[in-house]
Symmetry: D3
């Protein structure tokens, strides 16, 4: 029987050449990036996305089918809760429990549809991009679920990172 | 003290006028749709979405930065697991545990990026659109997570239902 | 080594004497009740509870500290989501995923505080009392969390079943 | 299309006037409190609650229907596990994973019923009141579930914080 | 852009040749088995496993270090809860929420250690082997966790199915 | 009514005599170990286990029934995700969210079967043995699930810690 300790590669941090896929070990198999040697710093990420719906669904949403703003409210709460669970849903993403997540959901007639923006902040060894992006995705799926009886053809579009700051790779901002 | 039973509206099934928002009770507040009077039938939903990345990230994905196809494999597994948990993430969506979820993840040079298609089937009183759409979203978020060190600017696009069948509202197919 | 099959007691259904504890096996150890021989029928449960707060917290909640009704909305969504997860939180409770949960959250000056009523319905082999009671508890905990900066001394009171129907034991209603 | 970054309010920490609702952003919508600027200190919270049952259920619990103390044991384990998941159940509550939770469950003839006390400790940027209160609630729901075949009319009462220490707001103790 | 519906293979049920891997689609990729065409029947599975520890740890467990039998009790509750979540942990396993799980945990001096037996029953379209095996595994991991301060060298052994009944493939019993 | 604060034993750290069960309070009841006074240090654990299958199942796994290596890939992803959730499954185990988990899954003809090795690293106040052992167990259960149509008689064997480092108790290595 082979010695299992020979297999222990202690979380090889992935290809070190610039721009390599950090989640792949040297043999190409998937692995979480070991973050124990990173510094614990304040990090922030902002993500964005929208749901495009029919004119009719949009009118119901804004004018009267939705008098108390419930779609926005439920989507916002679901987005916050979903963002906190990013590390449970995404295999190679760390659970980052003390993350703070904020979600804004607003109707936008120019789409027409709902626009979602999520901000996630944390003081940790790794970033919160996935928390922000997951919050946006779950908020949009929730809005889809609540509106689908009116319009099954809605599409989720442009789920993307807008900016991030903190961490070794520094700040990034969408041009 | 008021009698709590007066407040019991027994899950009002939402606005009955055609095309109303079924998740809103008569007073506009959010509520799950009561499905106990619906028939248990075989239902199916197919959803689709894609991740658009840079040419450089795409080459790494296809040519060599990813020799064992791991991004696709991990995204597929994550999508299946995420789809099963739709009812946990989306507030007014029923948990539909015996759902079967299939996820396909394929590189597509015409994007360039990854295309994801998920199919969910179940025999239940309510449909599996949200399982299929959640599977697509989680698979795409997983791919984003694995590729983000190479390209932070990637966007998730066109997450949408392609077709559904079964249930009272009958079949639907994107035109 | 003993034969493991001798230990198999096939889910003894608990003490059969009237009023015994159905979750205890013959030897007194905890066990889930086997429900495979029960009929799948429509079942419903209504539960109730309230949060008592200070006059000052109540004014903030009703008059102005909470202009968009957010505490009620967030508590309602959290209650629905919590109710769906009763079987995950409560060891000997079955997961009952297709349950529909409705939660109402209303300020009540006579407490003063918030009153929560939850209704859960399902067509299954076992009841939804725990879904309704868990929904009430999680909604109240959420309200506590959102108001605790104003009043740490709030108390959750009278979390209780109001009525249930369906199933072998028939209907029950609080006198 | 509007610039999503304009919507980024970076987790406004809530109304700053004394006693405001910290979970509401300036526009009244719900948001998690950003805790990245808070100090990581040792924090502790103690919470309490009880389940009131009939004399008959209490006798079964204490005298013989429950010879190995299982209701208490199962409720204790469920309470610990539930307390760890407070941040998953309560929307605006942070996940605080390294929290330690202790739960005591004791029959009390003066109720008659079961009394639950939970203590949660952590070294973090935000407190563990919700972990302690959730542990109490889940332990009481578990006891209700195990005893409900004997007495459906039981009520959960007086779920409340007893004391907290650590953090910017200092110590608090119920008078 | 290719037509996503071409990719829809509607959950191919896997290789049909006798004894093939049912979780692999025709192209070898992983997929959940579609169970919608299977009959809903009563199914049962019994699984077994044990934890081998040092003589010293065993004495503490049995004689005095554990006067109230807590390791067994906590392991039993954890096993039940873990078994219910098999479908959440195992990617291609269906969530089977109405499953009933029973777990027995007993010290066995002949190992020396703890023996765990779990029985899972359900009326569904697919079996409960994974619920029973997961219950055993989680119960054993829990016992390891509680005893590891005394003996880090403990091993989990012989986690295996003992018997299953119900479903198309009929009954099976370990020889 | 008794004063609940009298019951507050503030997480007694367990029996202090050498080698006692740290998860048991002075009265023998289960409790999580309070770790707030421990130092936050870098910790690592390596665990191992294997699945023994029939020669026929092994051939299918290696030669052709599994052309894309899916069983290994799916088991690896499931193991990573399961390892991150150890604290959710195991009652007295802390949630340790920033843990990094790596899982290797390899066929081994000498068993015949699959060998799994998991490494978990973290910088925290308590160790990651349970994350590594849970990752191994979930990976093995996943492989069982994918192969069970070919061989129901497979057994999970030798799930055990191989080494740990970091923390007050120092390094440990299986002899």
């Amino acid at each position: 029987m082979t010695d299992p300790r020979k297999h222990d590669k202690s979380h090889p941090p992935g290809r070190r050449d610039q721009g390599g896929l950090t989640h792949l070990a040297d043999d190409g198999s998937a692995a979480m990036v070991d973050v124990t040697s990173k510094a614990r710093t304040s990090r922030k990420a902002v993500a964005h996305g929208f749901l495009r719906c029919s004119r009719r669904a949009f009118r119901l949403l804004v004018d009267g089918g939705n008098p108390k703003g419930d779609v926005q409210q439920v989507a916002r709460v679901a987005g916050i809760m979903g963002g906190k669970r990013a590390g449970e849903l995404i295999p190679l993403c760390h659970l980052l429990p003390a993350a703070s997540v904020r979600v804004d959901v607003e109707p936008d007639a120019s789409i027409p549809g709902l626009r979602v923006i999520a901000t996630a902040t944390i003081t940790e060894r790794t970033g919160v991009e996935m928390e922000a992006l997951t919050a946006v995705s779950v908020a949009l799926l929730t809005a889809y679920d609540m509106l689908k009886a009116v319009d099954r053809g809605m599409t989720i579009e442009s789920v993307r990172l807008e900016e991030k700051s903190g961490g070794r790779s520094g700040s990034w901002r969408r041009e």
